[in-house]
Symmetry: C2
């Protein structure tokens, strides 16, 4: 058998602000033969997610950075080409973390076999994967929505936000989504059943948000940070909960200069008994079986819908990723690497 | 019976910054005879607490402000002089909320009878009262100290902080207290059994705090805000919990100008999975019976000690209160109004 070559996107430089093509480089590298307990994988879909911006910086966040010159990391849906593990056979489709590359060798024990008959395999990177689980665990464990409460989420057409709003409604809460542009807002209302949608680009965003939340905000699922926060903050009710799973608007390093908003935040944390709680989904890994069962059921019943934004070809990943950080995608952003 | 006259301290003006004598005025007013279901009370002890600063401002915090010209509010230990309620008799000692005055008429249903044989009655305003309960509920319900964890609390010789540190130790955690001056720090170590004490007035406060917390901070019980926060923040461990029950250092209105610390806070909330949770003790009222039983037991066993700072005479309350906001008291601050 001829040696397999992997087409790879590697981290070429650490961006200061917005990442661009100059921070990546493409490279073809031979893939070693799989050893005992390993499999050779072909990437079908690569997931692009905001957390990857953190991995491009030298600063350790909740995970180590990608070393300069290494293949960018990322979740993938991959096909087994060769297997040296009894649990996997050629043709199996698996959830892997092979990164931005066309082929990879992986330890079988880190893989999850997917059932292509149960759901489109790409959903393992979105609504039935890490983003969906982030929404599920953060909303239900930290947010704990009660019937009649108001749940607000930004980046609401993305895979986390869209699941947050729809699960909130399943639990009897009002869902208010924040998104960029009229088209996305219409999608939230008309396709996903959000009670209201507000365009964060509108000059009167804060007033529109206030009008959409006449009873205030009980849960703000924070995944963007930045200017949206200033509109949300005055509307938070006593005992409001704020699960924090991302701060996309801050990832490119724009920093606010002043005045200092920390004291004002703490004053309201105290006087309104607020809860602010950061989390990474893996903290709640014990809930994954419940999540998979419940979410699959909600999708089957039509209670949770999802939208994918699929880019064709690995070489377009850098450009698509830069767009993700600016909200140019519309739905869960995936790169189709192979058929 | 001659009509009773109450000596009162009323709110004369709303302070912008530090409160002083000019914001209060003394007045003698006749007290009406108690009606059906009411009692006539004589104040023995008035409690002075940081939250009162909030009541002096026009802005609603978690409670309404004291109206201008009205008697300052506050918890009291009082003696029943006359009773028109079958549950109370002259001579009974009760926990009341009579405010800054020598006599008052109160509805019997808002009073709690105290047993002078069980504990000194003044403790109903401190270690066995609202401050002790604030420490108990906030530390155990929000902080949830685990054996070996490090708990840091400021204003540590005060009634909340001293209880927080001692309960932390009962639960097997390390207690690190922050206080102003060497005398208070020595008291924390030598009398209350804190594992370490750090003087927030020391020029190298942040370095001393770091040295006192070699394993980082798992729980920071926030009751002061201000500059102490900047020393604590870098030391917070992943999954640290921050119950917020007060921000004394901010109460007098000093505001930080810039740079903006909010983004940095949220970034660390996310990357370290922090929990910040404001609370008022009354949220946890269902735990009060457990608190009273457990805390009385700990006091009896010598596991919780307390210190009172008693000022003689109601007319000294304004000055003592101003000192409280600057940390000039040493222990739970009480005004002895009558023997």
């Amino acid at each position: 058998m001829a040696q397999t070559v992997s087409h790879q996107i590697r981290l070429a430089a650490r961006p200061e602000g917005r990442p661009g093509p100059e921070h990546f480089r493409a490279e073809d590298q031979p893939v070693p033969a799989p050893g005992e307990g390993q499999v050779l994988l072909q990437t079908l879909y690569l997931s692009l997610d905001p957390y990857m911006r953190g991995r491009m910086s030298a600063t350790k966040s909740y995970a180590d950075p990608v070393p300069l010159g290494e293949v960018m990391e990322g979740g993938t849906v991959s096909r087994v080409l060769e297997s040296r593990h009894p649990g996997f056979a050629p043709g199996d489709i698996v959830l892997s973390h092979s990164g931005w590359q066309s082929h990879a060798v992986a330890d079988a024990k880190g893989l999850h076999k997917l059932d292509p008959g149960a759901a489109p395999v790409s959903t393992a990177l979105g609504v039935l994967g890490m983003p969906g689980f982030t929404a599920y665990a953060g909303l239900l464990t930290i947010g704990r929505p009660q019937p009649g409460e108001t749940v607000v989420v930004a980046a609401a057409t993305g895979p986390v936000g869209s699941a947050v709003g729809q699960i909130a409604r399943i639990k009897g809460a009002r869902a208010v989504g924040i998104a960029g542009g009229a088209k996305k807002c219409a999608f939230l209302r008309d396709e996903l059943g959000f009670d209201a949608a507000v365009d964060h680009r509108a000059p009167d965003f804060a007033e529109q948000l206030r009008a959409a939340c006449p009873g205030g905000i009980d849960i703000y699922f924070e995944n963007v940070g930045g200017a949206v926060w200033d509109g949300v903050f005055p509307l938070l009710n006593t005992f409001a909960r704020i699960p924090v799973c991302g701060l996309v608007a801050q990832y490119n390093g724009a920093t606010a200069t002043g005045p200092d908003r920390l004291q004002g935040l703490m004053r309201e944390v105290l006087s309104r008994s607020l809860t602010i709680r950061g989390f990474i989904q893996r903290e709640f890994v014990a809930q994954r079986p419940d999540f998979l069962r419940e979410m699959a059921g909600w999708i089957a019943e039509g209670k949770v819908r999802y939208r994918e934004d699929v880019v064709e070809g690995l070489d377009r990943a850098p450009e698509a990723f830069a767009g993700l950080l600016e909200g140019r995608n519309f739905g869960k952003l995936l790169v189709r690497v192979a058929e």
